[in-house]
Symmetry: D2
Subunit: 337 residues, 4 copies
């Protein structure tokens, strides 16, 4: 960390900062500029809070030098993480597409979608059993019944499942049927839940919070990794901005930024990232071109009858057409799909 002193900081205030730095177990390094004195903090600053120094008299600002995440960083692990999910390798050369309905609604709906997405080339089946909904008066998911249907669909069609956990009490049930535990955007900083999925051995798909910075996203991954679950994939799903023409703003820059900072695979969700079915193909293609390791896409046989997220769900035919286009782009950027 670097402590920037106020212009008029007294020698005594500077000495107090040096003393406090040393008390905290670090070495201090003084540098006097023309208008400001700077105190460098030498040592592993990660467990140190900026505030411990910011609060001292005469301090103007404290700037961290190191990223606050360690296990998630490329400094710590330069090689890319590849996660094996029942033989599907996520984070390698192949771009993996996960697809399926927002929520499981019935056996027919699920199986019809599952066959369709498999045929089009999806490698993982998505489907929600427990649904986080802004209104308590709308469909909340079929719960355990949905999980059983997912288990059945997985066996019948031969695709592994990704499904969301909303609380600690869901983990056991979801783990029984799903190969990947999804952590939703609204729970990205639910630290109890991060801790709990970190104690499992299941791969985790960690969605970025809609107003979380990339650094905070990696810190949430760090919670899972530091509990010894190393199979985390990051999922960008649109951030909240002032723009109202789309439900969210897909942060396409996040792909390249995250790839520089971390070794974890990056998945893009163009369905939530746009909020409208007719914008999904453009966003999906952009994601593959930008270097994403995978996509997660909502598909529904009858979007106008969907109990949730119909407006952003592709029909099976549209999904199949999109997959063909994505393969062209994957090949143009030197990857398989």
């Amino acid at each position: 960390m670097i402590v920037i002193m106020e212009r008029r900081a007294s020698d005594d205030q500077i000495q107090q900062v040096v003393k406090r730095v040393e008390e905290l177990g670090f070495r201090a390094h003084l540098s006097r500029g023309e208008e400001r004195t700077i105190v460098g903090v030498i040592g592993d600053e990660r467990p140190l809070s900026i505030e411990s120094l910011e609060v001292l008299d005469g301090v103007e600002r404290v700037v961290p030098v190191l990223h606050p995440f360690k296990l998630a960083s490329r400094d710590f692990k330069p090689d890319r993480t590849v996660i094996d999910v029942d033989g599907v390798r996520i984070g390698g050369d192949e771009i993996v597409v996960m697809a399926g309905p927002c929520a499981v609604e019935s056996r027919e709906q699920l199986l019809e979608t599952a066959w369709a997405v498999k045929e089009a080339g999806a490698k993982v089946l998505r489907g929600g059993a427990f649904k986080p909904r802004t209104s308590p008066y709308t469909f909340q998911g079929l719960g355990i019944a949905a999980l059983e249907l997912l288990g059945e669909a997985s066996e019948t069609v031969g695709l592994p499942i990704v499904s969301e956990v909303m609380s600690a009490s869901d983990i056991e049930a979801v783990s029984k049927y799903a190969e990947i535990l999804q952590l939703g955007a609204r729970n990205m900083q639910n630290y109890s839940l991060l801790h709990d999925v970190g104690k499992t051995t299941k791969p985790v798909l960690l969605k970025r919070g809609m107003s979380s910075t990339i650094h905070e996203w990696l810190m949430s991954a760090e919670y899972i990794l530091s509990n010894r679950n190393y199979n985390v994939m990051l999922c960008e799903r649109g951030i909240r901005t002032f723009e109202t023409a789309t439900r969210f703003t897909l942060d396409i820059n996040a792909i390249a930024v995250a790839k520089q900072l971390t070794h974890l695979p990056i998945i893009i969700d163009p369905s939530h990232g746009t909020g409208k079915a007719n914008l999904v193909p453009s966003a999906a293609k952009a994601a593959v071109a930008a270097g994403a390791d995978g996509l997660i896409i909502e598909v529904h046989p009858n979007p106008d009858r969907a109990l949730s997220d119909g407006a952003q769900s592709l029909r099976p035919e549209a999904f199949q057409k999109l997959m063909a286009e994505l393969r062209q782009i994957a090949s143009a950027v030197g990857r398989q799909m």
Copy 2:
């Protein structure tokens, strides 16, 4: 709801929308303008998702007419809700100040702060036992031990306690010692937890998510109310914007907006809303002038030794001085403190 059709929507597409509206149990009302046809949806639209209609062919946009929240609305309950916490009335004419350390660190720290804030006029003691922290490597709160200390401080000093619950498993323990359950900003859309605190009889302080709209905040309150816990107070604590000079941007407009929309009391947190102790007084005074029903303020006897949020904690003397200033403003706007 109002369905705005595309300019080139065919008669058949319009008829399909009317048909679907009727299938969903509503009446449809057609209005043909010069460039667009509009279909009005007559009936209680709240359980209806915008997407069920948005997804139909020829539809350009769907606009909700009613607010999605009901129990939280002034339409439903015109009179203001006043919550009684051990004789402290929140939401009435008096402005209630809750104060204390961000986290409970030790008996000495807690008791010293508790006496100081009580003497200065605070009516509720705040203190965290379970702390949501962005980094897994920093202080996570003392847990149960902190709750026991809060119980002791409450009895000794004679102030009721507000303390945060981070997961369902915390509710029982926190309820044993605290009179008000706090739901943190990062958990505002943790629907499992909203559901669970809705099943208790304890008053809930519901912090606004840092990127949640006022409507979403009221929908989260609706989750609690619809589970029959009617004692919800809303807490604005700063939203995330592009501005980096402050940790968050305190949304002062939210006070007047929320008071128009809902009957629930509005509390302001100037500590998180600014992130810096020397900005807290200005924000606190603004909040009282703008019509807040209460404040929640972080106070620590030694901010430079605080294990969390030191930079935004007031020293007891600064808090006492602020309280005197706030009383003047409360009186200027016709309220007591």
Copy 3:
């Protein structure tokens, strides 16, 4: 427009709204729902301000039905606009790349860059003469001398020029040497300047304001179009969000949204859209895959000596490599480059 009345609006208030709508030269259409009455406004609402009705007693909200832009809309002109710049067709099947230095610094710098970008396949040379800079103490551009150098480079290398106008007084001089007038993000709502470039016959590259919605961007285009200059191309260059890892957040969704709303060509600026040279390739590839009609990219032979925007400028070799990759993606989406 649709006027949504308050729940408790009286019959008299409703009649006042109807009367006002008629006074303003529109017809009113009443629809009484279960909880709200709605007044539809029939007629071309574009010249009508929402506020004229919003301000009436008993009105809760006014919702526009039509987009506020007309000449820029696909409703008005369904076919795509193709702009011919010295034989370079922008908005057609070919993806056009404009490239060059942020600012013209010297004859050598400009010519070296011009030859390099031409060889790599760029079709337009960019270069700033008048530079909008946040600090009055940094390089402000060479002005007229830069324009003369641009004119010389254009003749020597054989590429048309795009260069920025910062005020009305620049228009004549810039028009003498440049084929495309650039209007910068910070001037997107400089209505005097929009009016003035609308009076010229030069194609205009209109950058999106860093916090302007897509609708506002199209309204600024409308200013130019309504002054009878129909050759406007839109340029997305990143919006301001809470994320600090990049200088701006490139709004990749804006491409597909704008293509639905307008017939004007869409250009993407991945240099400003990311702010870092090593993020430019990923963003540029995403833009082509998402359907952009062109790109504008900063290239400098010695970024570490650049007088402005060095950090986001590509070296000529990096630009050449990128162009080869972009050609692959253009081909994968069925376009030429």
Copy 4:
């Protein structure tokens, strides 16, 4: 400035940074930490762009130490600036209220408003002659005719005028009738115009751009100050955020932050800062309590007939009532009004 090297930066890369720092006329100060080497840049860094160093090989990040503004800073001028406008002192102990219609529409409208606001205690009359409007199809202001009416109203009623300049060509005419030149939010980074008003001797009211940081706002003030016009007052008028319940989010924190950074007076515009007349009183009261030096408020005798901004304009009676309330709060915070 502080240059943070990458973890794996070579000694040669570090030496190149040191060499470049020295070439640029600064001294370099090396500090080797456990994981990173840091190069301090000693000297007045303000004319130096971050990018000149950021672009060098092996550099991870560059952090400025000094604020980029100088003349606007309290470091440069610790005493508060008080601006005298025809005997009205802005920036002193008195809180100054400027009020009047958004746009001048007619002699009657203007005079009626002018008498009303003067009687209620306003000290400056506001009124727009040149109006920046998002749509080219709506009222654009009466121009010179409006200025003449403002001149007449000023003489008749005895209040100095504040009115907006939209381009260089307006300055002379506006200066003839107005005592304060207003620079609108959309022109905050119109550097040509900043330069031009900096060359006048008229006090300037500089509105903050709707997505400009406080630092950028002060940099725009610096443009004016560095052209030797030292009479700049800053005006916060709401920033753009994700919240849609209000037109803008009034950044109440900006008052205390700006007062720490600069000696210039801070004015608050609660009309634009909320966008709705019924939210203006709450915001205005908050601003006075938070320490604003003045307010600028839109007042119109018939808001429902206003040609612009009717929805956020107070009627004269509401304004008078608000002024009485504001006086109470001013007195509670030890100021006059």
